[in-house]
């Protein structure tokens, strides 16, 4: 078996000529959602299925992933924590604030938080960043996967409150939660336009790509908050 580091904390395992994405398990022996555990040379990896994770798909679509071991991350739309668990693997010296508004789903997420030391669960609506500003510090990266019609706006207001200067925004945009009938391309274009010009903060879009074949009608996007350095 061979192991290649694709990005900080993200690995490609080559196992009997089968390639798979993985992260290093910070809680060896524990599988989170039934994913495979693979041990190589004393290190345990957790398989990461890109079809179950927008972030995983973004890795395979050659996005530059702005996550470092000591990053602080605000994750909006954490659901039961499938992707959050891999982010938690990457942040060996960092922290992820996981926001989810469905109590039902939060129940599963809390079990994950109970196991792992670097996830802070927040049961709140991402539309109201003021409702968790008493908890969340400035973060290096905001990752958002909420499948809501006003995705761009949610990203913008959260960036405004929490993103460090020059921090990164990673966005998964689902075209059908914005417009069920319009063509995804058109929807994506409009969302990028909104992000670049509709709000009182500015983003520089670094990369954008559709996430097929892993996720149909989804756009992945990485942007950097743009700050006027002149003043």
């Amino acid at each position: 078996m061979s192991v290649k580091e694709l990005s900080r904390g993200i690995y490609e395992l080559n196992l009997d000529d089968r390639k798979m994405l993985a992260t290093r398990n910070i809680m060896p022996g524990l599988s989170v959602y039934g994913e495979r555990l693979i041990v190589d040379d004393g290190t345990e990896y957790r398989q990461w299925e890109p079809s179950r994770s927008k972030l995983g798909a973004m890795v395979l679509k050659n996005f530059e992933i702005p996550l470092e071991p000591d990053s602080t991350v605000l994750y909006l739309g954490a659901a039961s924590g499938t992707t959050v668990s891999h982010v938690s693997d990457m942040l060996t010296d960092g922290l992820v604030y996981a926001v989810e508004f469905s109590p039902r789903t939060m129940r599963d997420l809390i079990q994950l938080c109970d196991q792992r030391p670097n996830i802070i669960p927040i049961l709140a609506d991402a539309n109201k960043p003021q409702s968790y500003a008493h908890i969340v510090e400035k973060v290096d990266v905001i990752f958002q996967d909420v499948a809501q019609p006003n995705q761009a706006e949610i990203a913008a207001i959260n960036s405004k409150y929490f993103l460090e200067e020059h921090g990164h925004l990673m966005l998964s945009i689902k075209s059908r939660s914005i417009d069920t009938v319009a063509s995804p391309k058109k929807v994506f274009k409009e969302e990028v336009r909104k992000l670049e010009s509709d709000f009182d903060i500015e983003f520089e879009v670094l990369q954008r790509k559709e996430l097929d074949p892993f996720h149909e009608d989804h756009l992945g996007l990485v942007a950097r908050m743009f700050v006027d350095d002149e003043d």
């Binding site: 809390i110 049961l123 960043p129 409702s131 908890i135």
Partner: protein, 349 residues
């Protein structure tokens, strides 16, 4: 000019004009208390200045915690407690109503089966008794064998002249026990209905006001939650309103519902046929609005019902006569097509 106050999870911060920290009063370092505060602040959203000091830095500088790591450990503990308590609070609301609605269904199913069994079994001993369901169960529970029906009872003659078989003591005990159980299921059923009535009043007062508690509860249960019902467009409400489950619940003998079961209410049932579609749409729209109001504000706003009544009146007044067949079909035909097109689009995807 004025100082800004901002409450963080570990203390109250006083900020100057540019958001700089002027003063900080720390809370008790008790995770349970801090969790209570965190939950409170989720609910009572405060004004948050965009310019504010970094929380972690303040906590370290004010010596609330000594190390970076301590900050993480304590905050994690507090937030896990907070999220857990929030979850246990949400368990009190619509999810309990849904459980209650489902319990009603379970009871109905059981009670129907048991009542049928009782009817068949007891029928061998008293075939002339024209009772079913709860009435039969109460009768058997009270008297057991027909021989015990007292003189002067409305059925005493029928009982004494019955061509049914003799009931042995052992069989009588058994049938009585069965009947007692059925009676207590009926009692429980009433108890649950009361429960639904009262909880619907607090969880979804507006929905209750429009549909009545039991139909409202049923709509929530079919949607999966009040939140989901609130998110449905009113066309969907019309569809789930038409579903069989809801229809069955009404236990009415009316023929299969044309405009959905929620619309089986007198407002629509007693209306002339050409008004019904429009009335049903208006009702569905207000049900949607009521669910949204219940979900987002939770307060009763009588104006919804008033607006509904007004709307229904205006529909009645605007359509006093049945439409003529052919000549006027043009604009109406268009409206009809529109909904069809919508349906096809949905189908394609």
């Amino acid at each position: 000019m004025a100082d800004m106050e901002f409450t963080a999870w570990f203390g109250k911060l006083k900020l100057g004009d540019a958001g700089e920290l002027e003063d900080c009063s720390l809370f008790d370092k008790d995770p349970e208390k801090l969790a209570g505060l965190v939950v409170e602040l989720h609910g009572n959203v405060q004004d948050v200045p965009l310019q504010r000091p970094d929380l972690r830095e303040v906590a370290l500088e004010s010596c609330f915690v000594e190390l970076d790591e301590d900050y993480d450990v304590l905050l994690r503990d507090v937030c896990i407690r907070a999220a857990k308590s929030q979850i246990s609070q949400t368990d009190t609301d619509d999810s309990r109503i849904i459980q209650a609605v489902q319990a009603l269904d379970d009871i109905d199913k059981n009670v129907n089966e048991l009542s049928e069994r009782l009817f068949e079994w007891y029928g061998r001993y008293f075939p002339e008794l024209e009772m079913t369901g709860e009435e039969l169960a109460r009768f058997i529970s009270a008297y057991g064998s027909r021989a015990n029906v007292p003189e002067g009872h409305a059925l005493s003659e029928k009982a004494s002249q019955s061509m049914g078989a003799e009931l042995s003591f052992a069989d009588e005990e058994l049938l009585r026990a069965l009947a007692n159980n059925i009676c207590s299921l009926y009692d429980t059923r009433r108890y649950i209905e009361n429960y639904i009535n009262t909880s619907m009043g607090s969880v979804a007062p507006n929905l209750c006001n429009i549909t009545g508690a039991s139909i409202g509860a049923r709509l929530i249960s079919m949607a999966g939650s009040l939140q989901k019902l609130a998110a449905f467009p009113s066309s969907t409400v019309q569809v789930i309103g038409a579903s069989r489950a809801l229809f069955k619940h009404l236990r009415s003998r009316a023929p299969s519902p044309k405009h959905g079961t929620i619309f089986n209410n007198p407002v629509i049932k007693n209306a002339p046929w050409w008004q019904r579609g429009k009335l049903a749409r208006a009702l569905a729209a207000k049900i949607s609005l009521a669910a949204r109001t219940d979900f987002y504000s939770g307060e009763l706003s009588p104006s919804i019902k008033e607006a509904l009544d007004k709307k229904l009146d205006s529909i009645r007044q605007a359509n006093p006569n049945p439409p003529k067949r052919e000549p006027k079909a043009q604009p109406q035909g268009k409206g009809g097509k529109k909904t069809h097109r919508g349906k096809r689009k949905g189908g394609k995807r």
